[in-house]
């Protein structure tokens, strides 16, 4: 471990005191007892084992997103997804107040939901419900359950849910800040997440393996693979440095099949390279592919099409897990029925494609090579800024825009990078901002965008970006200007 330091156990245990007293339910966490509890969880419900098995057997596992305010309703939801949705892995999606540590508002949401007789929260407020209720949830189902959220400071959430029997925890100091927060300094969130990783490392040392999954898709909107790869690899390194052993890196579908397959392949390779060269060896790496994370079409039939295309890319990419969308995506939190429909459509396609593979091709090689070069250029930049420390490098990289996430809400993200699709639907970089990709690579991106501009008879500009943001929800991949669509009869409507 060259460029990272492991948190000191004493410092960690001291910090725990503060964390556990930050909300009343914290006091119910007894780490020793929690470890004993985790140890009696059957192997079939251990997330890390399911991921290892998926990799060994080249299987793609399905997982939905799902969470509601009240425990009984949440349990009913998960059971439904397990049985009717045929989900291989289960989630517990945390509500947005909890994500911002607004437990008072979350409490209000619980009460209003009780009064309304339906969930008024967009997720399960696990901190407010506490350890015991979390155990009710994880015990009620047969599959491994993961905490999925978007929390810059997830220390208490991690304490409570891991003691509550969850065997995987999503997130990271970058990926759960930059796309999810506005005013939390990156330095802070990275520190908070060092704690989470150290907690997982602690469980690991005590013989309990918890799977960790940095959030790959970031803003879910035209994120170039090199950006999310760089972030994922850094968060992987941060996690491994704290003793995490089971790690799942993520990638959100871009929409062009070749780019998506190249992205997952290179993510796996690059992560292995960086992890090994940092001296990590005894970890287990898997990849999660997210079905399209940007705006969805409103029409449910069309949403099914988007879900289907995400599944095709997931299978051909060779990922171990796919996060599944529902036909309600454009409207709101899906009903359990709609969620299960998304899962079943995905299951059908996985099985129909499982015996097929994407043939090798020069396009695939070209794209893979490109992504590799880009990621190396970015991570070189981070390393240089860090002067031998990845964490420092990351913080400085975001300050300077060497790392820059498109459309992110955070004040600690430069926000100068602008992506757009090329004529074949590959996500390219229109404005690099300060991302140090080098002239050769940038010229290539530009060239491909100019090719599109020529076809569309308009300059490469911000209008393209806007058109691309809307494109899939309006039924296309590339956001063409009204008049130049290549589909004639089909597009007259």
């Amino acid at each position: 471990m060259k460029g990272l330091e492991r948190i000191q156990k004493e410092a960690f245990l001291q910090e725990r005191e503060t964390v556990l007293t930050s909300w009343p339910t914290g006091k119910d966490v007894d780490l020793k007892e929690a470890i004993a509890y985790q140890k009696q969880i059957p192997e079939s419900k251990r997330f890390s084992l399911a991921m290892e098995e998926a990799k060994r057997t080249k299987t793609l596992l399905t997982q939905p997103r799902a969470g509601v305010a009240l425990p009984e309703e949440h349990i009913r939801l998960l059971k439904y997804l397990e049985v009717e949705g045929e989900a291989d892995l289960l989630p517990t999606t945390i509500d947005a107040y909890t994500r911002q540590n607004r437990y008072t508002e979350a409490q209000e949401g619980i009460e209003k939901s009780q009064a309304a007789g339906k969930s008024l929260l967009n997720g399960f407020p696990a901190v407010n419900h506490g350890v015991k209720v979390c155990r009710q949830v994880t015990e009620a189902v047969a599959r491994p359950v993961q905490v999925r959220h978007g929390t810059p400071d997830a220390r208490l959430l991690a304490e409570i849910t891991l003691a509550g029997g969850f065997t995987s925890f999503e997130g990271g100091g970058i990926s759960y800040n930059i796309p999810y927060a506005k005013k939390v300094p990156l330095e802070q969130s990275i520190k908070y997440w060092k704690y989470v990783d150290a907690l997982v490392g602690y469980y690991e040392e005590e013989g309990v393996r918890i799977n960790r999954e940095p959030f790959g898709p970031l803003t879910g909107t035209l994120v170039p693979p090199c950006i999310s790869h760089a972030v994922g690899i850094l968060e992987g390194l941060f996690a491994l440095a704290q003793g995490v052993k089971s790690i799942t890196l993520g990638y959100g579908q871009g929409g062009n099949l070749i780019q998506d397959v190249a992205a997952v392949r290179t993510l796996r390779q690059l992560a292995e390279e960086y992890f090994t060269s940092e001296g990590f060896t005894d970890y287990h790496l898997t990849i999660v592919f997210h079905q399209w994370m940007g705006g969805f079409p409103e029409d449910e039939a069309k949403a099914f099409a988007v879900i289907g295309w995400g599944t095709v890319a997931a299978v051909f990419s060779g990922a171990e897990k796919v996060i599944v969308k529902s036909p309600h995506e454009a409207f709101g939190i899906p009903t359990k029925e709609a969620n299960a429909e998304g899962l079943r459509a995905t299951r059908q396609l996985i099985h129909m494609l499982t015996d097929q593979s994407m043939p090798e091709s020069s396009e695939l090689t070209r794209e893979s090579d490109l992504i590799r070069e880009e990621v190396k250029a970015i991570l070189d930049g981070v390393w240089k800024l860090g002067e031998g420390n990845w964490e420092t490098g990351t913080i400085r990289a975001f300050q300077s825009g060497v790392l820059d996430v498109p459309f992110a809400p955070s004040l600690f993200n430069l926000g100068k990078i602008l992506p757009a699709r090329d004529n074949d639907g590959f996500i390219r970089i229109l404005q690099p901002g300060n991302v140090p990709l080098g002239n050769k690579i940038l010229a290539y991106h530009r060239e491909r965008l100019e090719e599109r501009a020529k076809v569309e008879g308009r300059p490469v500009n911000f209008q393209m970006v806007t058109d691309d943001i809307y494109a899939i929800s309006k039924g296309h991949l590339v956001g063409r200007p009204r008049s130049s669509s290549s589909i004639k009869i089909g597009s007259q409507r």
Partner: protein
């Protein structure tokens, strides 16, 4: 924050309310209304009621356009109009739009709820923005000429 000069069709404040992080639509609304000739003050995401009202007072805005995407719209928007009244902005135009409640819900129900809470107009996510710009220009004109 942008300003289209003196041909402005009106001054508006934009933002995403509560603890909502959805920033993409917000960035698009800023570009769109600016291009349409409004003077836009964009507060970005995670904006509280008071932050909206502060900005409206400060810029002497005609309208506040609230976004809520993440589902907590009902909770976050509660009492918004009352707060405006309290702070002396009783006649400010209040629009709200996005995925306003948790789950797929008939829009008419959603609209009614937010109108009861004092919003002048309520929009679903697939609203035609051109239409919104037209309505906004009308509403601002009516407000300035005291016709509402």
């Amino acid at each position: 924050m942008s300003n289209n000069g003196n041909t402005s069709k009106g001054k508006i404040v934009l933002g995403v309310i509560g603890y909502d992080c959805h920033s993409v639509g917000n960035k698009i609304l800023e570009v769109f209304f600016t291009e349409k000739g409004f003077q836009v003050t964009n507060l970005g995401v995670m904006v509280s009621q008071d932050e909206f009202i502060d900005a409206a007072i400060e810029t002497a805005a005609d309208a506040i356009l609230v976004s809520s995407l993440y589902g907590h719209g009902l909770i976050d928007c509660q009492g918004f109009r009352d707060r405006c009244v309290e702070r002396g902005m009783e006649d400010i135009i209040l629009y709200v739009g996005g995925n306003l409640v948790v789950g797929k819900t008939p829009f008419s129900e959603v609209e009614e709820k937010f109108k009861q809470m004092g919003f002048d107009r309520v929009f679903p996510p697939d609203v035609d923005l051109e239409e919104v710009a037209r309505l906004l220009e009308q509403d601002i004109h009516a407000r300035r000429t005291g016709k509402h």
